[in-house]
């Protein structure tokens, strides 16, 4: 690969990294909150609902009703 191509690849990678950093700065908190919520729901399903023979969707419905 010629110098010019390597240089372009380097700059494009740096620009992509910067784009990811901006996205992470702006949306990171929401994403993290969503992920934690999902893990909590999943843990509740694994520990409680699965033992009652319910799937995640039914379990949520059942939980809301309860």
């Amino acid at each position: 690969m010629g110098d010019e191509k390597k240089f372009r690849a380097l700059l494009v990678s740096a620009a992509l990294l910067i784009a990811c950093i901006f996205s992470y700065n702006i949306f990171g908190e929401y994403l993290r909150a969503d992920i934690f919520e999902y893990i909590k729901r999943r843990a509740y399903y694994e520990n409680v609902l699965k033992n009652k023979g319910l799937d995640l969707r039914e379990g949520m419905h059942w939980r809301k009703k309860q």
Partner: protein, 414 residues
């Protein structure tokens, strides 16, 4: 190029103004904090009255509590007040405290907020110095913020103890001794600025720039961990200027230098610039990049600056616009992505001189846009920015190696 720069300047200004307007219209709510709930955690079992009186406070049997911001509102950290809830016993001794709101940069203050760090204040009396570097440990990468925290706790505790508890405060005016960081920075900056002018008059002094680069790495980089960054400007636009002397020294000295000497900060002071340049001096073959592609890619830093400004000001959150490698590197804190960018740009310098400064740095973009033209900078083969002959002033970091002293001899430095 000059016309291009003028257009970019207008575009960046429009982005900044629109972002401020969007921020004020849509993102201007202050969070509601339940101080009573926090007090229940700080003093379990105690039942506090509603907040009232002068200065505003909560009372419980044997304890008084207050928000430092209600008593010392003028004390500001890097980006505004650091609001702290303090619980004190009737003898004027701190029994609990928690930071309840601040806008400091997370990179710098994550340790300051921890119970482990705040426990250093517990048990201190209003007669103790409550001073960073004296009875309270500093945090080397959060100088401005911890000093503001200590000062707000000290001032509000003294006022609360004397006005509410009738405790006689024996301690005289304190808190000045530890605030010497700004003196060190100002002395270093002034010396470098003096050398900059000397090198314009006599190329024999060009070596002083190398000394300045090394000191830049050590003083604002490693020792103070506070290189000038866009965060300081975002904080100022959104929340007003800090009253930390170091903050003032950083912002004022950089502003003066931009007015008088364009990108002097980049070429003489910036610790990341220094590190990049030193890496670029390693005896490794540099990539051969065509002048056209080099020129085109150098513009990349302007949209990056624009997005950074828009993200920080529209969301009224300085950290949203932060992708600055020197903040990550010298605060020793950042996401994996930020560290990835630090690694990539540092390695790139070995093959492409001052890679970060030429193509990506938002401070370089901003100071370049504000530089006044000076056609005595003609560039030559030793240019640390690999500028082609007759560069636009926005790309010159004022190393003075090519400075043409037309007024006397017409000869060139270097």
């Amino acid at each position: 190029m000059t016309r291009d720069i003028r257009n970019i300047r207008t575009a960046i200004l429009s982005v900044a103004l629109s972002a401020v307007a969007v921020g004020l219209l849509f993102n201007n709510q202050t969070p509601v904090i339940d101080e009573q709930a926090i007090l229940r955690e700080l003093a379990p079992g105690a039942s506090f009255t509603q907040k009232g009186g002068t200065p505003p406070h909560y009372l419980s049997e044997g304890l008084v509590a207050f928000n430092t911001h209600d008593i010392s509102p003028s004390v500001r950290g890097y980006a505004g007040p650091i609001k702290t809830l303090v619980v004190m016993d009737r003898q004027g001794r701190i029994t609990g405290l928690r930071i309840i709101d601040h806008r400091e940069t997370k990179n710098y203050v994550h340790y300051m907020e921890t119970p482990e760090y705040l426990s250093r204040f517990i048990g201190r009396s209003v007669n103790d110095p409550l001073e960073i570097g004296s009875d309270i440990d500093g945090i080397s990468r959060a100088t401005i913020s911890v000093q503001a925290l200590a000062r707000s706790v000290r001032e509000s505790s003294v006022k609360a103890a004397s006005d509410l508890l009738g405790v006689r405060v024996l301690r005289a005016e304190a808190g000045r001794a530890s605030e010497h960081a700004w003196i060190i920075y100002t002395a270093y900056f002034s010396a470098a600025f003096f050398c900059y002018f000397m090198t314009r008059h006599n190329p024999r002094f060009l070596y002083t720039r190398d000394v300045s680069l090394v000191l830049g790495l050590i003083i604002p980089g490693i020792y103070l961990s506070t290189p000038f960054s866009m965060l300081q400007l975002f904080n100022m636009v959104l929340f007003g200027p800090s009253n930390s002397y170091l903050w003032l020294a950083l912002v004022i000295s950089t502003a003066i230098s931009v007015l008088l000497a364009g990108r002097f900060y980049c070429g003489w002071i910036c610790p990341f610039g220094a590190l990049s340049e030193l890496l670029g001096r390693l005896p490794v073959r540099k990539w051969n990049i065509s002048s056209g592609s080099d020129g085109d890619w150098r513009r990349l830093k302007y949209p990056a600056l624009g997005i950074s400004i828009a993200a920080a000001l529209a969301g009224r959150r300085p950290e949203s616009g932060n992708y600055e490698t020197y903040v990550t590197l010298f605060s020793l804190s950042g996401s994996y992505l930020s560290w990835g960018l630090v690694g990539l740009t540092l390695i790139a310098n070995v093959r492409v001189r001052r890679f970060w400064c030429r193509y990506l740095c938002p401070v370089a973009a901003l100071t370049g846009l504000l530089s006044r033209s000076d056609n005595r900078y003609v560039s030559n083969s030793q240019c640390p920015m690999d500028n082609r002959p007759g560069p636009h002033i926005s790309e010159c970091i004022r190393c003075n190696r090519c400075f043409v002293r037309t007024e006397r001899t017409g000869e060139q430095n270097g």
